[in-house]
Amino acid sequence: MVGRARGFRAQTEMISIMILISITVIAGYLVYRAYTEQMRQQQAGVALVSQMARSRIAERITLVAGYINVSNNKVILIFNNFGDEDTNITKIIIPAIKVGGEIELMVFNVNEKIPRGQVKTIILSINRKDVGYPPGISVRINVWTVTGRVYSYNIRTVG
């Protein structure tokens, strides 16, 4: 009788230990998965921020020359990419003078890629009839790139 009771206790203890091990394995696995997932996301975040920082540092462009041809309402912008990576110009804002003398900002959404080490000419057309430029004035334009940087340049009217 006593021997049977001991055997029963031993079996019970064995089962409880097996349950404990199972709980430890499952809980440990869940904790480890959550931890590694968090680490992975943090790594991805750090990599993304590093890439963004690198892209911003690598981006170096300059406007070689810029003209507004008032005879045909074309804007000619000559860019030089002397940075370490190709860059994309996404938006160009050019102020214009409306009939009546008000200044209006014209937004040109473009997607012009300037390869590294290359010179590229971007030609924009001003199709609006209610804006213009007095001859000989200097116009300050803003240029957005894909990295979010904004460059300001003075261009002049010709024609």
Partner: protein, 264 residues
């Protein structure tokens, strides 16, 4: 056996803990390496930006027919690699020329020759771009290798009359230049024709090769005789100067004076 089984859960917990510690260390090391890489890259970029500010080129150009010769003198403290030449016509057409591979050494002189894509009077602007991103105006430069002044002894010239042309040449580059009359070419013109054959050189002073140091000047005096044969006309003068550096490099510069003198 039961004791051994009890220890397994502890082993598993320890294994998970050790793994998490090593993962954290690996993450820390990776993040640090990335940070160091970015810092080094930013530092290199700052050096490049500061080098860009140290570029200093003196430019002059001579247009001969449909060709242009651009003399580039490096007055800065860095070798300057060139990247592109951009020519803009008066109709605002843009012509780009890639000149990668040409570097102007410190104190050195490089001549670039190009065929103009449009007639010279249709040129609006010519710009030279360096590899570091600087843009230099070729035609409207204020920092030329040579400064040249030309003065006549007389403005109204009769047939058979002698007159002097004094040419003042100032060396603006950072090295010695050798100048002689062999390197100077003088042409007389009016609006319609080349009149050089109507003027004969009698004398040049000095007639030997002269070395002028940086910042120094020399005056050469040419004595010409007008042989006659022209109806009264205004005469322009075009002077092409091609002095040599001590290394034999050639500097091209020119000057054009309208209404320089009048024949009677």
């Amino acid at each position: 056996m039961i004791t051994g089984l009890k220890a397994i859960s502890n082993y598993i917990a320890a294994l998970i803990t050790v793994t998490m510690i090593f993962t954290a260390i690996a993450f820390f090391i990776t993040a640090s390496i990335r940070q160091v890489q970015i810092s080094n890259y930013a530092l290199n970029t700052m050096v490049e930006v500061s080098e860009r500010a140290r570029e200093n080129l003196a430019l002059s150009s001579v247009i001969n027919g449909q060709n242009i010769t651009i003399t580039i003198v490096n007055r800065g403290t860095l070798d300057t690699p060139l990247s592109h030449l951009v020519i803009v016509s008066k109709t605002l057409e843009v012509y780009e020329y890639t000149i990668n591979g040409t570097t102007v050494p410190v104190g050195g002189i490089v001549n670039l020759r190009f065929q103009l894509p449009v007639p010279p009077d249709q040129i609006y602007n010519i710009m030279l771009i360096t590899y570091r991103g600087n843009v230099f105006d070729v035609l409207s430069t204020t920092n030329k290798p040579l400064t040249v002044y030309v003065t006549p002894s007389d403005r109204l010239i009769s047939p058979g009359e002698k007159f002097n042309i004094s040419i003042v040449i100032i060396n603006n580059i950072g090295s010695t230049l050798r100048i002689s009359s062999d390197y100077i070419f003088i042409y007389f013109r009016n609006e319609t024709a080349n009149l050089t054959s109507y003027f004969v050189v009698n004398n040049v002073f000095p007639d030997e090769t002269i070395s002028i140091e940086p910042g120094q000047q020399v005056i050469l005096t040419y004595t010409y005789e007008y042989v006659g044969g022209l109806s009264p006309t205004y005469v322009d003068i075009y002077i092409l100067i091609e002095p040599r550096s001590l290394l034999g490099e050639q500097v091209y510069s020119s000057t054009y004076v309208h209404y320089y003198l009048k024949t009677t």
